[in-house]
């Protein structure tokens, strides 16, 4: 069994985890939510194994490199970081309601990687420009940033739903979502982590571009979109820290920010530029 096979099974495990979290919440059954956690743990264990295996396979093919070099590998890594971040959050908050809102993103990333006809799961050799240790630090920081922003997106959706919850409505699903105060605080924390990681990601990317092409910034569409994302989250942080914005406003801005992240990740592939190797 090779790594991409394990990864496509992982996709189904993550789908199972999402369904378990969702049903556990809708039907108010704690054991289903617990099953969600077990499936998530199983999924991330299998995925970790597959990522390591893929790394080994690339060395066996004589083109050894960290599995962080094309769209398939980046999607796999993105879902891995998001799952990891989610499980840490679940462990720290002891609340499984987040699972319903975050695991679908994990599943979608894996499903897109595994089943999209445009994405090749083959291990490809690295072009000389990609042979750099900066590649690893660039991809890791960027994707931890993306994962934190994805968490903040999920938390923002939860926040907007929780606002619909009232005592007289007595909706079981909404009641299981943590209080708006907790969500608001968490949302800001995730934005801050994402912002710091994105900053590091842009910087490591610049250092790498400087050593490969001699310019640290060339207004390539992906670079520009990462800057746009950075500017949007910088604005969000300023509204919060200086103007005291909270709650709904921050939740909506966070959703706007995450759509910038998505465009930086996928949308840019429809525009020409230096990051063309990340398309396939």
């Amino acid at each position: 069994m090779d790594s991409s096979q394990i990864l496509s099974y992982t996709t189904f495990v993550y789908f199972g985890a999402f369904m378990a979290y969702l049903l556990g919440m809708v039907m108010n059954r704690a054991f289903l939510s617990r099953l969600g956690t077990y499936l998530s743990l199983l999924g991330i264990a299998a995925q970790t194994l597959a990522i390591i295996l893929r790394w080994v396979e690339s060395y066996e093919m004589g083109i050894g490199h960290a599995p962080l070099s094309n769209l398939y590998e980046s999607l796999v890594f993105f879902s891995w970081t998001l799952m990891l971040l989610y499980l840490i959050l679940e462990w720290r908050t002891k609340n499984r309601a987040f699972g319903t809102f975050v695991t679908p993103l994990v599943f979608l990333a894996m499903a897109y990687a595994s089943f999209s006809p445009n994405i090749s799961s083959q291990i490809q050799p690295l072009i000389p420009a990609l042979k750099s240790n900066w590649l690893i630090s660039h991809v890791i920081t960027c994707f931890f940033g993306y994962a934190a922003f994805a968490m903040s997106f999920g938390v923002s959706i939860m926040y907007l739903l929780k606002r619909l919850d009232t005592a007289e409505k007595d909706n079981r699903f909404l009641r299981l979502i943590p209080s708006t105060a907790i969500l608001d605080d968490l949302n800001y924390q995730m934005i801050v982590i994402g912002f710091l990681m994105l900053t590091l990601g842009i910087i490591t990317g610049s250092v790498w571009a400087h050593s490969a092409w001699g310019t640290y910034w060339s207004w390539d569409p992906k670079e520009t979109w990462s800057l746009i994302t950075w500017l949007v989250y910088a604005a969000v942080i300023h509204t919060r820290l200086v103007r005291g914005w909270k709650g709904k406003k921050i939740a909506i801005l966070s959703i706007v920010g995450f759509s910038c992240v998505l465009f930086t990740y996928f949308g840019v592939n429809y525009l020409a530029g230096l990051h063309s190797y990340a398309k396939k």
Binding site: I63, P125, I127, P128, A129, K131, S132, V192, F195, L196, T199, L200, I203, S206, V207, W208, H210, S211, A212, W213, G214, T215, Y216, W217, W219, P221, T224, W225, L227, I228, L231, V232, A234, A235, H238, T239, V242, R243, C260, V268, L271, A272
Partner: protein, 468 residues
């Protein structure tokens, strides 16, 4: 100082520039206009795109400088405006930050103790004066600005840590300015140039990308050897140039230049950017003469040297060699000087069979592309020497260290702002009838969870000290 002025008599411009609303508007505005530049192809890409536009549309976009937007004065002005806003905001807020930074709260404040939890104290049987000495020692080794006050036999202490986190935001703002300054320094005092050097050859000038004008390096670069190796798929695995740098004709340094491993010489940094190959100076030709007694000969010929035709009807020479012409592969231009008649020139391709399929019929019948143009001879190109050239990027950017310093400061500043907080603790050593009671309390500007664990740490080290 300007800011005190503005406090007394609010200056409209100063107020406008110091508003965070302006910051947010500028950040969002910059984000939105940056999108435009990613949708409209910029610089080189713009040429192709412009062809698809109507003349009116083209005029409209080029008046707005949207084809080179990131270098357009209005875009730079927007960035300058953000920088100005940032400076004014920072100056405006500095006095209140300084006040918080240098505040010296009284050690005997009782307010922090008001919402105190029951666990934040311990009772010891050591007398008050002795206990306070030991408390002070612990505080001094863990906190800064420790101050003490004694009244009515009770001892009061204050200490803090993380005061510098107030300046985190200034560090971030300074870092943004540094990065912008670094960019400006680079664009004023730096250049981006390129040069292609044939294997074995040298050059002392490079071509500036922006103006396409040559630039004298003041030294020479020689490509001693170029090598490339490939994956099974045919994609390049690695390519490298062995370079020598020559000053006054003497090689002073040799370096291997690889992708991702630039080499610096004489203030110019060289990057392995690309490579290619061109025809060298030798070709291998086969000449067949059709007659009753067919003659066939094959020999290696040099560029621009006359050779006699096998049947002594004249001479021929190769006057041009191309590694790839019109995407039809290698070809040489043959010139014939017959003993009688007009001289004649025609191209001989290496892959003539493939050329016959690709070339449109009217061109095929033209004598210019006919290897049998000089009948009864037929020329064939069987080999062509190729020489690699190395494509070098040659840059000078004195702004880079400033930009890296800015990046370093930005990360440290963000860290200070988001993950460090000013924690202030108060400890009071109260003398009771038989025992001494030590109480601990604290405040913080953010991160209350961090403060709780800080206080727990302090309590447990106090308990440790007094053997509890």
């Amino acid at each position: 100082m300007k800011n005190t002025q503005s406090k007394n008599k609010p200056n409209a411009i100063w107020q406008f520039l110091s508003s965070v609303k302006l910051t947010i508007v500028l950040l969002i505005l910059l984000a939105i206009v940056s999108i435009v530049g990613t949708v409209i192809p910029q610089e080189q890409g713009a040429v192709e795109f412009a062809k698809t536009l109507s003349p009116a549309m083209f005029r409209f976009l080029s008046t707005l400088q949207l084809f080179d937007m990131y270098n357009a004065p209005w875009f730079r002005l927007l960035i300058a405006f953000l920088a100005l806003n940032l400076v004014v905001c920072s100056i405006n807020r500095f006095p209140s930050t300084w006040k918080r930074f240098s505040a010296k709260p009284a050690p005997d404040r009782s307010k922090p103790f008001e919402n105190d939890s029951m666990e934040d104290f311990l009772e010891v049987s050591v007398n008050g004066d002795k206990a306070s000495k030991r408390v002070e020692k612990i505080l001094r080794s863990n906190y800064k600005n420790v101050r003490q006050k004694t009244s009515d036999g009770n001892h009061y202490f204050y200490g803090d840590k993380g005061r510098f986190s107030y300046f985190g935001v200034y560090v971030v703002h300074l870092s943004v300015l540094l990065i912008l300054v670094g960019g400006l320094v680079g664009s004023f005092f730096g250049f981006e140039a390129y040069v292609n050097i044939l294997e074995g050859e040298k050059t002392d000038r490079v071509i500036i990308r922006k103006t396409m004008s040559p630039l004298d390096l003041g030294f020479e670069v020689r490509c001693d050897k170029f090598s490339v190796d490939f994956y099974k798929t045919g994609a390049p695995r690695e390519f490298k140039s062995n370079l020598s740098f020559l000053v006054n004709g003497k090689a002073v340094r040799k370096n291997d230049l690889l992708v991702n491993h630039p080499v610096e010489f004489g203030g110019v940094t060289f990057y392995q950017a690309s490579y290619g190959s061109v025809a060298g100076k030798e070709a291998r030709l086969r000449i067949d003469k059709k007659s009753n007694k067919p003659v066939s000969s094959e020999k290696t010929v040099k560029n621009n040297i006359s050779y006699p035709l096998p049947g002594s009807e004249g001479t021929y020479q190769v006057i041009d060699m191309r590694n790839d012409i019109m995407h039809l592969g290698p070809a040489v231009l043959i010139s014939i000087q017959p003993k009688t008649g007009e001289p004649l020139e025609f191209w001989v391709f290496k892959n003539y069979d493939a050329v016959q399929k690709k070339l449109p019929p009217p061109m095929l019948t033209s004598p210019k592309f006919n290897p049998e143009a000089f009948s009864p001879y037929r020329f064939s190109l069987t080999g062509l020497e190729t020489v690699y050239y190395t494509g070098l990027q040659a840059n000078r950017d004195p702004g880079v260290p400033i930009v890296w310093a800015g990046c370093f400061l930005m990360v440290s500043g963000l860290f200070m702002t988001f993950f460090m907080s000013h924690k202030r603790v108060w400890v009071r050593v109260l003398t009771r009838r038989t025992k001494t009671r030590i109480e601990v309390a604290g405040t913080t500007n953010k991160n209350p969870v961090g403060l709780q664990s800080e206080l727990h740490k302090l309590i447990s080290s106090l308990k440790n000290e007094f053997g509890k």
